[in-house]
């Protein structure tokens, strides 16, 4: 089966810009935003959104990476995963507004792991969730605050997110 494109480069850029505006609006310009991307593609998205945020309001946001491998609930089911580095921006996350960023929101288990990981790093004022694609099928009571595109899908389908920084070529979201 060939993958059917759902979002093109321009759509993705537009969605991320909108998410940036929504983040600013909901935080009322408090200027203490920390965007933590979940590896691999969440980190790229966090960096892009942060760049947009700082264009709109300079100095309002910092970004980092949050690896959740050690906190997953499926470590003894799936093949051994290799963690990616975690990097927390200077100043930490205590008392700040953390926005978790991931490419695809699916079962919600990754986000559950991320919330645990955050717990071990500090105590943010609030934690929000941004996802480029929400494909449904949640297995936990978790929802995104900022969504690029809601993409109803069947459990048999797969969503492919390609981002220039990681995969080369043009940005694309496809379903197969």
């Amino acid at each position: 089966m060939t993958a059917r494109p759902v979002l093109q480069q321009a759509d993705i850029t537009r969605a991320l810009t909108r998410i940036a505006h929504e983040i600013l609006e909901s935080s009322r310009g408090s200027g203490d935003l920390v965007l933590l991307g979940i590896p691999t593609r969440g980190v790229v998205l966090a960096e892009r959104i942060t760049r947009t945020l700082n264009e709109i309001e300079p100095g309002s946001a910092a970004w980092g990476a949050l690896d959740v491998t050690m906190y997953r609930d499926d470590l003894s089911r799936n093949p051994t995963r290799t963690p990616s580095p975690t990097s927390i921006p200077a100043g930490g996350i205590d008392g700040r507004t953390v926005v978790l960023v991931d490419d695809v929101l699916y079962s919600g288990r990754t986000i559950r792991a991320a919330l645990d990981a955050i717990n071990d790093i500090g105590r943010p004022r609030v934690v929000r969730l941004a996802a480029l694609v929400d494909r449904g099928h949640r297995e936990l009571p978790i929802r995104a605050d900022f969504v690029g595109k809601n993409l109803p899908s069947s459990k048999d389908e797969r969503i492919f997110v390609r981002l220039a920084e990681v995969d080369g070529g043009e940005d694309e979201v496809a379903i197969a």
Partner: protein, 314 residues
């Protein structure tokens, strides 16, 4: 990867993956909350038939930082001193439900026996067996070198072209063996320096150069000088005339330390015999990585336990 028995079993990619994973573990150790939940509900047994301080506490710390339950077992004061066999001990551990067994044993090959016998279905980590291997020591030494040489840019890199001289009791040293195989895999050039009596038979088949003279090795400007401990407990024959003579010929004294090239590292797996194979000044100098090696040992062992004890059947 189910067991870690020898660094010989590791491919270059696997070795680099373990070193990279150890970097993540080290990063977690700088946080206020050092514990990670990855091995929650798993039981790790430390089975030590030989004395050890740093390896044992290092494995214990590593397992606890990953939230595993740790049972430490020393042969002294156990049923082993009543004559219990390795098989019975293993079956006892299997009955208790051990997921991982870290074993140190005086007999070369004991960990492999445990891994292949079918007595116990647990991940086996060799923590030193006789004069055979001590793979986590080899890995932590490689990690320490990589970190000192490449600094923050060390991820994903090997040790290509790094020149390492390992000095001392090669014959009895499992640390030397684990290092030789691993360093070769990672692309380093290894020179062994020892009196002829302390080199094993068949050394010509190892991927190393051998020298009998430490001064010659220092003149060749090595990047790393690794001093091995003189293992008096294994010295059951006259390998060298006396300790003073050994120290004069193959010990790293202050004068030799001064002749080492700028930026070279002095390593020692510990425990050190200060004044015998290494002088106090050398052990405490800025080039010495002795304390770093211990700290890195915890990260490496966390990485190894994580690799062995997570991941279901593929």
């Amino acid at each position: 990867m189910k067991h870690l028995l020898s660094t010989r079993d590791l491919s270059r990619d696997q070795a680099i993956a373990i070193l990279d994973l150890a970097e993540d573990m080290a990063a977690a150790q700088t946080r206020e909350v050092k514990k990670l939940p990855a091995l929650r509900g798993k039981t790790v047994v430390n089975l030590f038939f030989e004395d050890s301080t740093r390896t044992k506490i290092s494995f214990e710390a590593a397992a606890k930082r990953l939230s595993a339950d740790v049972i430490s077992f020393a042969a002294k004061g156990s049923s082993v001193s009543k004559g219990e066999s390795l098989k019975d001990t293993a079956q006892t551990l299997a009955a208790i439900g051990a997921d991982g067994v870290v074993i140190r044993h005086g007999s070369s090959g004991a960990p492999r026996t445990l891994a292949t016998s079918g007595w116990i279905d647990a991940g086996i980590v060799n923590a030193g067996d006789g004069t055979h291997e001590h793979p986590t020591q080899g890995l932590l030494d490689a990690y320490t070198m990589r970190k000192r040489i490449h600094g923050d840019a060390s991820r994903g890199r090997a040790l290509d072209g790094v020149r390492v001289a390992i000095v001392g009791d090669i014959l009895h040293s499992r640390v030397a063996r684990s290092n030789v195989w691993l360093l070769e895999t990672l692309g380093a050039e290894v020179t062994l320096v020892a009196p002829g009596t302390l080199l094993p038979v068949g050394i010509d088949t190892w991927p190393v150069t051998t020298l009998f003279d430490l001064d010659e090795a220092i003149a060749a400007r090595p990047d790393v000088l690794m001093m091995l401990r003189i293992q008096s407990e294994r010295m059951n024959a006259a390998f060298f005339p006396n300790a003073r003579e050994y120290s004069r010929q193959w010990g790293l004294d202050d004068e030799r330390l001064a002749r080492l090239p700028e930026g070279s590292l002095v390593m020692h797996p510990g425990p050190m015999n200060r004044g015998l194979e290494i002088s106090s000044a050398a052990a405490d100098s800025a080039r010495s990585t002795v304390i770093e090696q211990v700290a890195n040992g915890v990260s490496i062992r966390m990485a190894v336990l994580f690799m062995l004890l997570t991941g279901g059947t593929e």
